[in-house]
């Protein structure tokens, strides 16, 4: 009973299909408050669909999803903030207006919304870029603004869909450290979809490995050193490497069943 109430996210027997195409098959997953959950899996295994289902952007074909007690789509929509794969910053707004989008939607005036976002710009290494248009920002900067936009919405659950997939390796490592720092200072329940096992194990407390379509969970691993300040040290640690190998084995195994 106690365990039930501490669960921020509960997915029970969720299946989903688009027409005849079954993308998810009786999936179970749970996450505690402030836990960072990773979802890795081959392309097209329904990771992104699962994220949309959690966020209440769609209802699953079968099964239940509960986010902070809300089981209906509208309820989940109010408790989750979704960060899509591409940054999708709106080119007609400045960086700060993009970041403050949720506040504007929630009814705040422009100045109040900007004021609320300004503090976060400083904290997250974006000071000085408030008035910049998205086109003037680098890929890493754009992802930072996109993440702030998600964070600022003030939702208990963040759903991140391959947030750094489009970045080069060096920027991606930097952004992972940056996100780890952001989550250390501002902990949230996070569901992170990625195809990068290393990224998942560095950023997440727990990583679920999904099989190829129809997606089901084939392995669940605990990360040895989630979100430590020293990323390079963390990912070269033998324990980490062992966990990574285990995850990769599970991924390969999941593909072989096809």
């Amino acid at each position: 009973m106690r365990q039930d109430t501490s669960m921020q996210l509960e997915i029970g027997g969720v299946s989903h299909s688009y027409g005849d195409l079954c993308t998810l098959d009786s999936l179970d997953l749970a996450g505690e408050e402030h836990e960072v959950l990773g979802l890795v899996g081959p392309s097209g295994c329904g990771k992104s669909t699962l994220l949309e289902l959690i966020c209440g952007l769609q209802e699953p074909s079968a099964g239940t999803i509960s986010v902070g007690g809300a089981t209906r789509a509208e309820g989940r929509l109010g408790r989750c903030a979704f960060m899509p794969q591409r940054d999708l910053l709106l080119p007609w707004y400045s960086a700060i207006d993009n970041a403050a989008l949720a506040l504007r939607n929630q009814g705040l005036g422009r100045d109040a919304a900007r004021g609320a976002a300004t503090g976060l710009f400083e904290r997250f290494g974006l000071a000085g870029f408030e008035a910049a248009r998205p086109a003037e920002l680098s890929g890493g900067m754009r992802q930072r603004v996109a993440f702030l936009r998600t964070l600022i919405a003030g939702k208990p659950v963040l759903a991140l869909d391959e947030p750094f997939a489009a970045l080069d390796a060096i920027t991606r490592a930097e952004m992972q450290e940056w996100l780890a720092a952001a989550l250390r200072t501002d902990p949230r329940t996070v569901v992170l979809v990625t195809h990068d096992v290393e990224e998942a194990l560095y950023l997440c407390d727990r990583v679920a490995v999904l099989s190829a379509r129809p997606g089901r969970i084939v392995a669940e691993l605990a990360s040895p050193h989630p979100r430590t300040p020293e990323r390079d040290a963390a990912v070269t640690d033998p324990e980490f490497i062992a966990a990574r190998e285990e995850a990769l084995q599970a991924l390969r195994g999941s593909k072989r069943t096809l």
């Binding site: 929509l77 979704f82 899509p84 709106l90 080119p91 007609w92 949720a102 939607n105």
Partner: protein, 258 residues
């Protein structure tokens, strides 16, 4: 910087030089009577640019008066097309059912021959400005509606999901994402409309009017006032070019992110 300056000069200078050369040639050919001889016409039927210019000056009051009428028809016609066209595009974007029902009819409306409908409008509504506005609006409605709808449909579905997840109401999604995204496309439609509107206005006047450049050109034809006819054409072209220029300027002021 200098390269950019050079191309700008070329863009203004080269067409200017070509135009000057053509006018010069015409001046020589017309003033020596070469064209009239070749076509076996009397000299006054082939006015030289200088004669057209002096007719332009002598008849400036009359031309301005009639140009004002035609300009009103063009502007009010485009305004009507803009209000109805953008309204229709928004409604068709909002309701798929309406789009499926109305879109074929909007395409079909383009097959109505203006040549046929204009005299009927004349019979119904008389010689005033109303039927002209209607013809201009009818011609401009299509490019505006189709382009506005295309613009609205060009919105990335992922951006809509992102906005829904950031607590945006339908109106906020429209106001902050769909409407700005549709603006460049809408301007394309307006530019096409602005190019065809003067032709539509002149044609509508041609069929029967009590004022306007089209009517002036037509009545001058009856009295062999060829120089003033050309002067009216010059005024009409200048007006159309001015409208296109203003539209482009407005586009640059509004669509600042391209």
């Amino acid at each position: 910087m200098s390269a950019k300056g050079t191309t700008r000069w070329r863009r203004v200078l080269l067409p200017g030089l070509l135009l000057a050369a053509l006018i010069g040639l015409w001046q020589i050919a017309a003033s020596t009577g070469a064209i009239a001889d070749a076509l076996d016409l009397q000299d006054f039927l082939v006015p030289s640019p200088a004669e057209i210019a002096s007719s332009l000056w002598e008849n400036r009051g009359l031309l301005a008066e009639n140009a004002w009428v035609t300009l009103k028809e063009i502007l009010l016609g485009i305004l009507c097309a803009l209000v109805v066209g953008v309204g229709m595009a928004v409604l068709m974007h909002r309701w798929q059912l309406l789009r499926d029902a109305a879109y074929p009819l909007i395409v079909a409306s383009q097959t109505i021959p203006i040549v046929v409908i204009s005299p009927i409008l004349l019979v119904w509504f008389g010689y005033g400005i109303g039927p002209k506005i209607f013809v201009v609006a009818l011609i401009c409605f299509f490019p505006i509606t189709v382009n506005a709808l295309d613009g609205l449909r060009s919105v990335d579905p992922e951006a809509v999901k992102m906005m829904r997840s950031l607590d945006a109401s339908r109106w906020q999604r429209f106001r902050r994402v769909e409407a700005p995204a549709a603006l460049p496309s809408l301007f394309t439609g307006v530019k096409i409309a602005v190019v065809v509107a003067p032709i539509a206005a002149v044609f509508a006047e041609w069929v029967g009017a009590d004022a306007g450049l089209g009517r002036l050109i037509q009545s001058d034809l009856a009295y062999y006032q060829v120089a003033r006819q050309f002067a009216a054409v010059v005024v009409l072209s200048a007006m159309a070019l001015l409208l296109i220029g203003l539209t482009t300027l407005a586009e640059r002021r509004v669509v600042t992110w391209r």
